[in-house]
């Protein structure tokens, strides 16, 4: 277990003088009202979508031909996605297809904004949702004692985050994702409109003033209250109002669509947002999951694809409205599902999964990863798609190449052997010749 006493200030003190100067600058409440403060033109936004339940990767991206198609069809006589006819898959390349309910994401794939990674996931030997989710969100497979989430460690160690942003991170929804464990910078929010104090107008200011003093303190509860007051102040000052998605984008109804819209709104409001997490649950399809022609999984995939498609459209534009050029969005799940369907017309917990990466600087239109095959000797435990790419390899590349954070050893302690897959184009803000190793404090491991 890593014992770190690293604060961002300590870390930044070791960095170049330009960044240190920003770190030392002060911000009073008056300055909160300036929109765009800290929102540099080259500030990347990372959006992490977590699909809770373990999505059926083999039906999201099924094999198209060869002996693997044979094994796939043999194991899924009822649930297979056909290659032609009604409910047929959408062709990604000569080897793989995409579930037909994911049209909007297929369009993004074809235009080169979406990449698919197959046989990716957690290398730990577990089929437990809760184990797997904890390992992934804490960023330490095998160890659940970690006191920080991986995104917390990214925020702590990233040299490209000036200290003047007050809302660098949002956990969409009403609770804070485990990836933000230990962070006091993540704001849990369902929508900016809901994020106001709403007291009696004669007394509200006096209440807020009192609360600010009452909640002044250095321990967890006081910091939660202070952070809440700060977030409310900031968002109210930016006057969110009603929001109309750009380019005619229409989000699906429901909290997933609402959360995506809220994040899009916050990106455009220029509060300096850098990381956002959104959950979509319901993927644990042990029964009656349906195939390409419809059913439960189809509906959920349509909601996912529709939401992400609307999000991308909403953030597309030219010049200053070209938000997708600094967006990288990842989709992942805690594991995939078993190759063989079960007797309840569904699938059980598996292992290898699919990740997707979407954004204006993604080398899309390709399927990445090392396909292990579906012959029984090639399966994990003789039953599931194997994992040949550690999910941390995908996230590390995004952190380094897009988010400008080279400190992946801190974000994913114990992860070695990283090489880029080539998923994203570099947009790093690190000056050439900058060696961060010189500035890292000693780490006790």
């Amino acid at each position: 277990m890593i014992r770190q006493r690293l604060t961002r200030r300590q870390f930044l003190i070791g960095c170049s003088s330009a960044i240190a100067a920003m770190a030392g600058s002060r911000l009073t409440r008056v300055a909160l009202a300036a929109p765009g403060a800290g929102d540099d033109t080259n500030s990347e936004v990372l959006v992490v979508i977590f699909l809770r339940g373990g999505w059926d990767a083999l039906n999201v991206v099924p094999p198209i031909d060869g002996s693997d198609r044979g094994y796939y069809e043999g194991a899924r006589t009822e649930l297979q996605i056909p290659t032609s006819g009604e409910g047929a898959l959408l062709q990604l390349n000569s080897q793989f297809g995409l579930h037909p309910s994911m049209g909007p994401l297929y369009d993004l794939y074809q235009q080169g904004s979406l990449a698919v990674v197959h046989a990716v996931g957690l290398t730990s030997d577990t089929r437990s949702h809760f184990d797997a989710m904890q390992f992934i969100e804490l960023g330490t497979p095998g160890d659940k004692n970690t006191t920080t989430g991986w995104i917390t460690r990214h925020l702590e160690s990233s040299p490209s985050l000036p200290g003047t942003i007050l809302i660098p991170a949002i956990s969409a929804g009403s609770s804070q994702a485990l990836s933000f464990l230990g962070s006091h910078e993540a704001v849990a929010m369902s929508s900016p409109n809901d994020f106001s104090f709403r007291g009696h107008w004669d007394y509200e200011d006096a209440q807020r003033t009192a609360l600010r003093s009452i909640y002044n303190g250095d321990t967890w509860l006081y910091q939660a209250g202070t952070q809440t007051l700060d977030a409310v102040d900031l968002i109210e000052s930016l006057d969110p109002g009603d929001y109309t998605p750009a380019n005619g984008a229409v989000y699906p109804s429901g909290s997933f669509g609402d959360n995506l819209q809220a994040i899009a709104q916050m990106i455009k409001m220029g509060v300096g947002l850098r990381v956002a997490t959104i959950d979509l649950g319901g993927w644990d399809t042990h029964e009656n999951q349906g195939d390409g022609s419809g059913g439960y999984l189809s509906g959920l995939l349509a909601e996912l694809a529709g939401g992400l498609g609307a999000f991308y459209m909403d953030l597309s534009g030219a010049g200053a409205s070209n938000y997708t050029s600094r967006l990288t969005l990842t989709v992942q799940s805690e594991f995939g599902r078993r190759l063989r369907e079960n007797a309840s017309h569904g699938t059980d917990h598996g292992h290898g999964s699919v990740m997707m990466v979407m954004g204006g600087n993604v080398n899309g239109g390709q399927v990445y990863g090392i396909w292990p095959g579906l012959q029984i000797q090639q399966l994990y435990d003789g039953a599931d798609l194997a994992v040949t790419t550690d999910y941390r390899q995908v996230l590390s590349e995004i952190l380094i190449q897009r988010c400008g954070n080279p400190n992946t050893e801190y974000v994913f302690p114990g992860y070695t052997g990283y090489t880029p897959l080539g998923l994203v184009r570099s947009g790093s803000v690190i000056p050439p010749g900058f060696d961060y190793h010189l500035y890292l404090p000693d780490v006790e491991r």
Binding site: D125, P141, H184, L221, N342
Partner: protein, 567 residues
Amino acid sequence: MSELNSEPSISRQGALQAAALLGAAPWSEMLKSWLKPDASTQPPRPLREVGREREQRVIPPPPLPPLGVIALNRLAFGPRPGDVAAFNALGATPEARLQAYVDQQLNPAGIDDNACQARLTGAGFTTLNKSLGQLWSDHVVNNTTGWDLRMLPLVETERATLIRAVYSKRQLIEVLADFWHNHFNVYGWHYYVGPVFVHYDRDVIRAHLLGNFRQMLEAVAKSTAMLYYLDNYINQAGGFNENWARELMELHTLGVENYLGVMDPFSVPLDENGQPIGYVDNDVYEAARAFTGWRVDYSSWEPGVGQSGAFLYYESWHDRANKFFMRKYIPADQAPMKDGLDVLDGLASHPGTARHIAGKLCRRLVGDYPPQEVIDAAAAVFLAQKDAPDQLKQVVRTILLSTAFQNTWGDKVKRPFEAAAGFLRAANAEFTPSDSWGWNYGRLGQPLFSHPAPNGFADTKEDWANTMSMLQRWRLANALIEGWVEGTTIELVSQTPSNLRTPNAIADYWIDRLLGRAMHPVENREEIVGFLAQGRNPDFDLTDEQRSGRIPRMVAVLLMSPDFQLR
């Protein structure tokens, strides 16, 4: 299966194995892998100091409040006016009072709850007394009205639960019902769970929560709600469905801390009693096979199946072959249901289950990271009394009378349900559940019986001390005192003794009334006084108009304060 990367620390299997080999008390090692280390000993993580002008106060741990305050915030949904005084009258010493109070609460039939009962009767509920058969008949089979009628049993249970949390004198039962509903979580809005929710709440959860765990487990396993929720209703031989079996082991009994992953069952180390120290995937599959045929009596065309909605053991779906569950041989062709009952027997008597349940109860009743001694003591009682009809009552009693219980404060934050019920109780609200209440309360993040995943709502401060939860409970407090929530009225001015007219006196009255102790840090009191005084001398009388305007909004600030969020 070898891992691709080296892990930084010892694996759980390694820890369990090492502990078993050393013969050391393995409980604490296993728990360490489950419970996070005591966060209060880690230095607080500083806010973004860069960019902050204000000076942060150093906050020491809060002092221990009087035992009555502790008890009423953890065995109950917070004190109503007079509750702490009644607690203090139960004995000459704090320990004597606690024992008397706990024993009272553990004997709910001896507590006169007529006032609450009158409210339940007056609410006009129609489903709460229906049997499972009536529920199924009225709300499923013969329901021509639609979704609202189908879900009425769930909605009424939710409303009744709210009324009880606020008004029942049998508070410990309400706290425990909340615990067990989360432990054996089902999604109330599931198409087949909603209509039978009255049965699940009344006959499965509440009927067993002071009883025997093995009995409770069987009631859950056979409940229509759980059979649908975790898919066992279609678990059949030839292609078993693992969902129920997996969560039975991972959440309801042994817990994921005793899960050894994908591993050969013969490689699992044994404890000193020859039992495997944990379970593996194979055990999940064997358990799933053992429960094949445990279904619901609801079909229009299958032979031998009716439409009652009750539990049905369907032999033709049962996998009759022999099974090997956690190193125990289950022979083929046992008596009907015996396979599944054997699995339940094994799980209910495993020390890992004792530790898991004890740990969770301690976490709910004591603190987020309870001391090892109280967990061990509770686990020991759990195991020793595994056949006793009042096993769970004894376990809870052990926890509540422990020194850990009496000496722990402020290690937990109220979840939204506790915070909201706490507001209503402390303010002596006149409360009737309504849709308006539902919308306001739902935003706090803990809509009752609506957690979709089987693990139930989380129970540590990290999960609830976040901006959305804080902001929404602040908003609820204001909405309540402003009268914006239909069906709820709170008269704070008339509850303030009329002879108290100065900011100092009024502040002290309400701080004592709502918190039962000084604010922490003590100087926060000045903010409350200052709010009432609005710049004038705090020893000058307020006018009637000033009193009626400022008192409610000041009470709201107290309800929003950090002190009120702790338990």
